[in-house]
Subunit: 649 residues, 2 copies
Amino acid sequence: MTDPLNNSLRFTPLPLQSVTLDDRFWRPRLEVNRTATLPFLYEQLERVGAIDALDLRPRPLRVPCHPGSAVTPQMWWDSDIAKWIETAAYALATHPDAALEAQVDALVEKIAAAQQPDGYFNTFFTAIESQNRLTNERDWHELYNAGHLIEAAVAYTQATGKTAFLDVMERYIRFLMGVYGPHPGQKHGYPGHEEIELALVKLSRLTGKREYLEFARYFVDERGRQPYFFDEEARARGEEPSSELLSHGDALPYEYMQAHKPMREQDKVVGHAVRAMYLYSAMADLAAELGDESLRQACERLWADLTSRRLYVTGGLGPSAHNEGMTTNYDLPNDTAYAETCAAVGLVFWAQRMLNLTGDGQYTDLMERALYNNVLSGVAQDGRRFFYDNPLESHGDKHRWEWHSCPCCPPNVSRLLASLGGYVYGRTADGIAVHLYAGGSARFEVEGQPVTFYQRTEYPWEGKVELEFDLERPARFTLSLRLPRWCRDPKLSVNGEAVDLSDARDGHVHLTREWSAQDRVELNLPMPVERVYVHPNVRQDAGLVALQRGPVVYCVEEADVDVPLHQLALPRGADLTATFEPELLGGVSVVRGEAEVEEPGDWGGTLYRTAPPRQITTSLCAVPYALWDQREPGEMRVWLREEVREAPR
Amino acid sequence: MTDPLNNSLRFTPLPLQSVTLDDRFWRPRLEVNRTATLPFLYEQLERVGAIDALDLRPRPLRVPCHPGSAVTPQMWWDSDIAKWIETAAYALATHPDAALEAQVDALVEKIAAAQQPDGYFNTFFTAIESQNRLTNERDWHELYNAGHLIEAAVAYTQATGKTAFLDVMERYIRFLMGVYGPHPGQKHGYPGHEEIELALVKLSRLTGKREYLEFARYFVDERGRQPYFFDEEARARGEEPSSELLSHGDALPYEYMQAHKPMREQDKVVGHAVRAMYLYSAMADLAAELGDESLRQACERLWADLTSRRLYVTGGLGPSAHNEGMTTNYDLPNDTAYAETCAAVGLVFWAQRMLNLTGDGQYTDLMERALYNNVLSGVAQDGRRFFYDNPLESHGDKHRWEWHSCPCCPPNVSRLLASLGGYVYGRTADGIAVHLYAGGSARFEVEGQPVTFYQRTEYPWEGKVELEFDLERPARFTLSLRLPRWCRDPKLSVNGEAVDLSDARDGHVHLTREWSAQDRVELNLPMPVERVYVHPNVRQDAGLVALQRGPVVYCVEEADVDVPLHQLALPRGADLTATFEPELLGGVSVVRGEAEVEEPGDWGGTLYRTAPPRQITTSLCAVPYALWDQREPGEMRVWLREEVREAPR
């Protein structure tokens, strides 16, 4: 049952059961995720009625998203439950828990009972609007729900070996494979909200059944063909295809859901950001599984577009609330940044798949950036308050909430954290690779011999990582270590001997030798505080600078300074130092330095004057962006004004 | 028929007939206003049906402002026609024109015919919704329309001596004085959209009838009293007073229309900006006419609030499109600035009245700032394209339009320009004052002797102003000259002899002497290019600088530079020079200098990096803000990044 199809993957994730994460940074976060967020999310699902909805008792419950909208949050409750089960499954993989398992089993039983005789499964379109079943895939998320359910079933099977849920989902998929396809009488369609494609790859990997892979490829290949499926579908409903989805500003029809042209012709990341990330993830998977070169090239073009023109320094993407997605090149507003938590989670998914496909550490670098910043921002340290959108600047009126009418983000962060072990290491053809530095261990086999690999580190607060193996007899294999691009001068030693890193390629150093339990590997990734500048085409950050240390992007919060944040100006070249503060926010490294601040004291009653503002020196303290809005409410800024003291040439 | 009531005015405007404006700056603008804008606006009123509406033939014409809204633009068509007549009247005062006068007379005839037997006049609430007459003053603008009609009638009477229109309006006002008032059976109410108050003062000044002044005072005094009139009025309609007007964010009920508390208790400029300006104008008038000290103090408090915390450098106000009005202290966004043209026109009205009330030139300074910048921005040099909102930054997507569903601004600018002569001079108890520097002449009498006074100047492009009198025999009187605050070092000479300006007070120098036709007065107002800074509490302009020369605020347009405007940084202290360019935009002074610009050339495909952007020098050219968007479409910015090269202390 493990990955029979992945012929061309450079790295294969380790099973969750084989990885532990127990360092100072991750242990408390993963513990809170498992013991606080997981039950909290279940309570919320119960509270809103999503659990009861599994019973299919029709009730007069129809809550439109917006007045007059035909879309209701109930339409994706199935996916919310699925993400909860998926999270629970990952928790069970690392921390067996009979009560939790029974809780999942009870849900699976309801799901099985709610499955229709033909295999169809959707609580809303069975109990509430059965007349609308499979009539509006553009807007109504049936395939999206199916995708999340498949992911949940795969995870639950992998965690427990139980196949009841998987069986239900395979029946549903077989039903859907009858509905959608290239043959006459089938809908030549594809999802409105992509998700099922990547789920089908997971299902195929678990079951070894190539037909699921083919079904995913069908969706990807069909997408964007003309005449547009969503036009045909609208006409079948007796509607003109004149939805507002047809255009957003200058966008082409269906750019919103990346269906404006065939995927292999696309080279711009457009539309709804989460949908894009999920789809591209599946494309990268399919490129690997099928050796599909043109799909891989499409992925690489899209990646280059995103990362060279559209990505926030926090790893966030999709600046606009209007379409929950992309706008124009270099448009990165800070205070109105949407940068949905789910989009950053989706970027982690895509980046991991690109890494596994190509072996290139550049993907891990961005995966790490998204993870430590935009993703972690999505959940408070108590595990019970969330951000849906993640602006890089707040004027004091933006705060974490406990629930949302569209509660996609909380379980998305939660399932990512619960499965984080799967992102840290990768099996290679001849050894093991370390993608993320995080204290803990990994178990794998070399030539039939079990090996346990240990990382000890205070990452991301310190860049020193100590690595060692536990194995009975020496064995020859390759240890691949990522060398993050944020680090200018990494140092590596094996048993005290420096390793030359000058020939490191693809963002990794590959150490092939005979390893024994006595070997000591020490990686040092010096992490001074860095000033980060954005491309001059980004209007919103002109004249501004961000602070980063290692993978962590910093922000300034009103709680730490006593002036309006726009008045702060950071002199270029002035000293900035990092200090670990064990009492602050659960223990974090803060960045301190001096800044100039404009003195409002001498302005009298005037609003304008010809004399420049007088500046005085104040002390600056910046905290990790992901942890903002957990103290007194107030302003926040990632991008700070910079003051250039000398001629810049 | 001239101003029998104004007991306490420091300055009294000259009649339009006594003033000519014929300099290089104003002559073409006023000519275009009279010969292009005026007929163009009439055509537009005809085109939309506003002229036909005067015939009261009910037609199925009801065009809501927004879907579902009970408000339609037709509700204020009467005011649009009134502003057109008012403009035409001012044009007739300075340029008699039989055809134009006949055109107005024809409109007046229709208006007289449409007046109802009881005196009521409103085309919409007579022909279309007579059942709703006088039931919703909060939203439906009946008193607003009446106000504009009164202003038009007053202007037309002053221009032509004809009283037919005035008679109709006095009948209407007498009707309204029966409807609204303190007595039992009357509505204890006041306008939803203020305007009639200032019109009633004009009517009172023209007719000498104090009752109109009292009616205006009643509206001002009643405003904001509890229980709120608009609540009562809603209940009388059978509605709950739960309109969205009740609150905007943290605003109090009816702050939107300045009716949240009594005017004498107000000290913040709130709500819809145009309404506020019209109301404050009337309050200043009433304070002068009635010697009402508490009303004057309220005006002064509101003025201080506006000018110390809420005013754009262009003289614009009301940053928010949401309420077409005010937000919070120091909130001055640039690219989303609403800064409605009508609001700046209203500020000119208010400032003139504060000037006339107090004699203080600070009001003229802001009147001049609004006039040369936000007001003139409202109309293109061809007189046929307009701005409704006047942002201080555009990303290239903001352009002038020919008409608007709410066409209040074009005729507002037009009537102000047509009556500009009334703003240039003021009669004082013992002479004449110059408020605005503009080439032309003014006629007035001293001791029964006619005096003609001449200004010769290239203002606002040059600060030299030559002044002389034409009078038969020498006469003793006072010549008061405004010394603009923007000028650091004004020089004044009389017959070549320097005048000491050190004791100038209230923004004026007062020259009392015996004047003769031989006297030559020369005022020099040096106008170097000035860098303007805003109070550090304004977040949106932090680190930015604006350019001003004399009263003219500059902007940079994409047409003049070949880089994205956000990349420009103006080095503090670098030379900036003004040059007059006769071929550009009808002849303007432009500001030239060097700026630093970030070089995007060496970034490769990266979006972020730790090396600062490389800067190169480019040439900067700035043009007067009011003239923007008249060449190739493109970006525009008033506030430019500033680069501080040396330590600022």
